[in-house]
């Protein structure tokens, strides 16, 4: 299943519906839907906030392969930007010592598997998988 989303935070609710419908069609439960939605939403939000050089829609695809779903989100961009290499905060630090930012990526890494990045045909592509439980 693939759907394109307007590059705007107002797309978050339709992204949420798309994820829930796709995961439900693939037989995934609510916890899986929560995890995939969280990961996609964090990535989508980053693309909207930090890539202001384009107004192109953001395509998202979700497919089932065996016991897992494979998710891909792509962002049109003039140059590569690997969000997966971005530093995440040290969550062992007391609150006052924690740095701002990076929490979203930390959560993405925690809730999904096989997080991968590639720059292909002028797109920053991020893919991940989620085992259906």
């Amino acid at each position: 299943m693939i759907q394109r989303f307007k590059r705007d935070m107002s797309s978050l609710s339709s992204l949420y519906s798309f994820v829930c419908n796709a995961l439900s069609a693939y037989g995934a439960g609510e916890a899986d839907c929560f995890a995939v939605n969280l990961a996609l939403e964090e990535l989508f939000t980053n693309m909207v906030k930090y890539n202001r050089d384009t107004r192109e829609d953001i395509p998202v695809s979700i497919d089932r392969e065996g016991d897992r779903v494979i998710v891909l989100i792509a962002d049109k961009a003039d140059k590569p930007f690997d969000i997966t290499r971005h530093a995440t905060p040290d969550i062992r630090m007391p609150l006052a010592g924690r740095t701002r930012g990076g929490l979203g990526l930390h959560l993405v890494r925690k809730v999904v598997e096989d997080l991968k990045y590639e720059y292909v045909n002028g797109e920053n592509r991020i893919s991940f998988t989620k085992l259906i439980t």
């Binding site: 935070m9 929560f34 969280l38 939000t45 609150l95 929490l103 930390h106 959560l107 925690k110």
Partner: protein
């Protein structure tokens, strides 16, 4: 997302109705709680029982409330979060930062009277 506030005997219960997601939600919650603190409220319970979903932005908003309350000699307790939201707190170790309770009643029961501000 809607915010409902119920204040009684120096204790404010801030109920989040809907999902705490993007920046406008964050700002709305922050402003409401600042209002409570500005009126002298220092014991704040954020009731999350009607919040199904949140993300890093929502967690950041709750941390912001906590630091604001503590700077003003108060505290923020969280109640009623669902299992999935609870997992996010564990993944970020924020469960070690906040006092969390299964429901508002148990959070209220655990609220000790704070020392009064000197005149």
């Amino acid at each position: 997302m809607q915010i409902r506030i119920n204040t009684s005997k120096g204790l404010s219960v801030v109920q989040v109705v809907g999902d705490l997601l993007a920046e406008p939600d964050q700002v709305k919650l922050r402003d409401k709680v600042r209002e409570v603190i500005g009126q002298g409220g220092r014991q704040i319970i954020v009731d999350l029982s009607r919040m199904k979903y949140t993300n890093s932005c929502g967690l950041g908003a709750l941390v912001c409330l906590l630091t604001t309350a503590r700077r003003n000699g108060g505290d923020v307790k969280l109640s009623g979060m669902n299992a999935e939201v609870g997992k996010l707190f564990m993944m970020t170790r924020l469960n070690e930062v906040f006092h969390t309770y299964p429901n508002v009643t148990s959070a209220i029961d655990d609220c000790l009277p704070l020392p009064t501000t000197p005149a």
